[in-house]
């Protein structure tokens, strides 16, 4: 089970002088159950990919299948939930509750079921009853974004796709958001997250897809990415590679402060040991 893209191409304004080839012959697979991170420069085509994944855009060529079905058919849309960039702009109801209920109430569910889903989705993202009854516009930016995520979760998607969900958040808001997102993943939802911070992706994702100018620059496990990718590595990883390159015995496949420090200390202790 997976989302599979085969030879997908997409251009905006095709056949006009303003044609932009956003996606060029891309193939990759997003495995069900995984937490996949999508990274790449601005304009690389990440948001376009997401619009293709949920059928908002139709590929010029190639096929996208989701669990074996064509991505464009309505049944598939039910199992894919997308949180677009700056989703708080799309909140419009008078209470958070109604905003979350909007998705499920279009799904022919009974009142009870809808209520249950709203409360559960709220809980999943740390929005309590009191906050559900407030106007969404009285919530902080981070809470608004989690509320928007709850709206998507309430439709119970099997695949949750998020486009830069933490952009504009401060460190605290980001940590909180990621914590809830990981909880969603650990309950069995497949998560695909586009992020503007590579270290953030590396801290949560199991697989990484790097998009470079409309093409795939890398796909593989997070560990592989840290060891092998030639671009987009976090500063700590660059530092450790640099140290290793100078002939010191450190593991350069690290990106956190703690891991880097312990590698450097271990190297120092080994060297001291050798001298004695």
């Amino acid at each position: 089970m997976s989302i599979t893209l085969r030879n997908i191409s997409y251009s905006y304004n095709r056949g006009t002088s303003a044609q932009t080839d956003a996606i060029e012959n891309i193939s990759f697979e997003i495995r069900k159950g995984k937490f996949t991170g999508i990274v790449g420069d601005s304009g690389a085509g990440k948001s376009t990919l997401i619009r293709l994944l949920n059928g908002l855009l139709k590929p010029d060529s190639g096929t996208i299948t989701i669990d074996g079905m064509n991505a464009a058919i309505p049944e598939v849309k039910k199992i894919v939930g997308v949180l677009f960039q700056n989703p708080e702009k799309q909140l419009f109801c008078t209470t958070g509750y109604e905003d979350i209920a909007f998705g499920p109430s279009n799904m022919e569910l009974d009142e009870n079921e809808i209520h249950q889903r709203v409360v559960e989705a709220g809980e999943l993202v740390g929005i309590d009853q009191n906050q559900l009854n407030k106007s969404p516009f009285k919530l902080s930016g981070g809470e608004q974004r989690r509320l928007a995520m709850a709206g998507v979760l309430a439709t119970r998607p099997e695949y949750l796709i998020l486009d830069e969900p933490t952009s504009g958040m401060d460190a605290e808001g980001r940590q909180t958001f990621l914590k809830y997102l990981q909880a969603v993943h650990s309950r069995g939802t497949t998560v695909v997250m586009v992020s503007h911070q590579i270290s953030e992706i590396l801290s949560v994702a199991e697989e990484v897809i790097l998009i470079r100018k409309g093409k795939v620059g890398f796909t593989g496990s997070t560990e592989d990415f840290i060891t092998r990718s030639r671009s987009h590595v976090p500063p700590i990883t660059s530092l450790m590679r640099n140290i290793k390159h100078r002939g010191f015995d450190v593991d350069n496949a690290v990106f956190t402060v703690d891991d880097a420090l312990s590698q450097i200390l271990k190297c120092r202790d080994n060297r001291k040991g050798d001298k004695r």
Binding site: S42, G43, H196, I243, A260, I264, C267
Partner: protein, 279 residues
């Protein structure tokens, strides 16, 4: 000779009409050509402060002058707004025309310049931000980074002495941020004064000065090298970059000396390796 100070903020206070206090006795001098980073938690008053620097807001108490001109005098505003340009967080709300080129030309057109001069300025601004190839595009069709570059081009076309950036990268991904930071350095080398609001400290490690706000007040102003030595930064919403955290820890472990200041990865690696070799 012109004075060294371009913007002078003298003990200003500001509350919003609904009573929310936003600035509580702020004083700050910005020097000509200086690159000042303004940082602090969401809601601490950064946007309110910078809106005072070109007269978008007027202090309830205290005075702001730009090149000696008081922002509270309406007759000064036109000149002040030309001297101090501003780029905001949300790129897609800053455009007024249907193509990038028309939009960039909008400012100069209002300056009563010759049409040749308007063209010249527009082209220069587009080329300074590498936006020439997008000049016929609708601003809304651009990626976030491209949109912000177009917004910057629009401000550059006014040829302001000072440009203020309010969290312009916060909606962008890493690549978009890198793009903007590159152009920021170009603008800096043109001698313009830059005030750069951000909550991402790694963007401003090379600023001339960091100004930290907390709770509507200024808590620190000084060089980046000393900034991170303060206590309680995390509580004030400052995300200390990983590389700086690592340096702190290496300093505690006596691997590098307490005076070491970060400039670049290569130099840091060099310092660590010398220490590992016992030098």
């Amino acid at each position: 000779m012109r004075s060294e100070t371009i913007i002078k903020v003298d003990n200003i206070y500001h509350s919003y009409p609904d009573g929310t206090p936003a600035l509580n006795g702020i004083s700050l001098d910005i020097k000509r050509g200086e690159f000042v980073a303004l940082v602090g938690k969401n809601g601490c008053g950064k946007s309110t402060l910078i809106k005072h620097l070109n007269g978008l807001l007027i202090p309830d108490k205290g005075v702001v002058t730009v090149n000696g001109m008081d922002t509270s005098l309406p007759s000064n505003l036109w000149t002040i707004r030309q001297m101090v340009g501003m780029v905001f967080q949300n790129p897609d709300t800053q455009f007024v025309r249907t193509t990038v080129e028309e939009d960039v030309a909008f400012g100069p057109e209002n300056l009563a310049l010759s049409s040749e001069n308007i063209k010249k300025r527009t082209y220069k601004a587009l080329s300074d931000t590498s936006m020439e190839e997008f000049r016929d595009r609708e601003p809304k069709s651009l990626s976030g980074g491209q949109m912000q570059r177009a917004a910057i081009a629009g401000v550059m076309a006014m040829d302001p002495e000072c440009i203020i950036f309010d969290e312009v990268t916060s909606m962008l991904d890493q690549g978009g941020r890198r793009e903007i930071l590159t152009y920021l350095n170009n603008i800096r080398s043109s001698g313009r004064t830059i005030i750069y609001v951000t909550h991402m400290l790694e963007e401003v490690l090379n600023a001339d000065r960091i100004v930290l706000m907390n709770n509507n007040e200024i808590r620190y102003t000084g060089p980046p090298s000393e900034f991170f030595m303060q206590e309680g930064l995390e509580e004030m919403g400052i995300e200390v970059p990983d590389i700086i955290q690592l340096i702190r820890r290496l300093q505690q472990a006596n691997i590098i000396e307490p005076e070491f200041h970060f400039t670049d990865i290569n130099r840091l690696a060099d310092r660590i390796c010398r220490s590992l070799s016992g030098i």
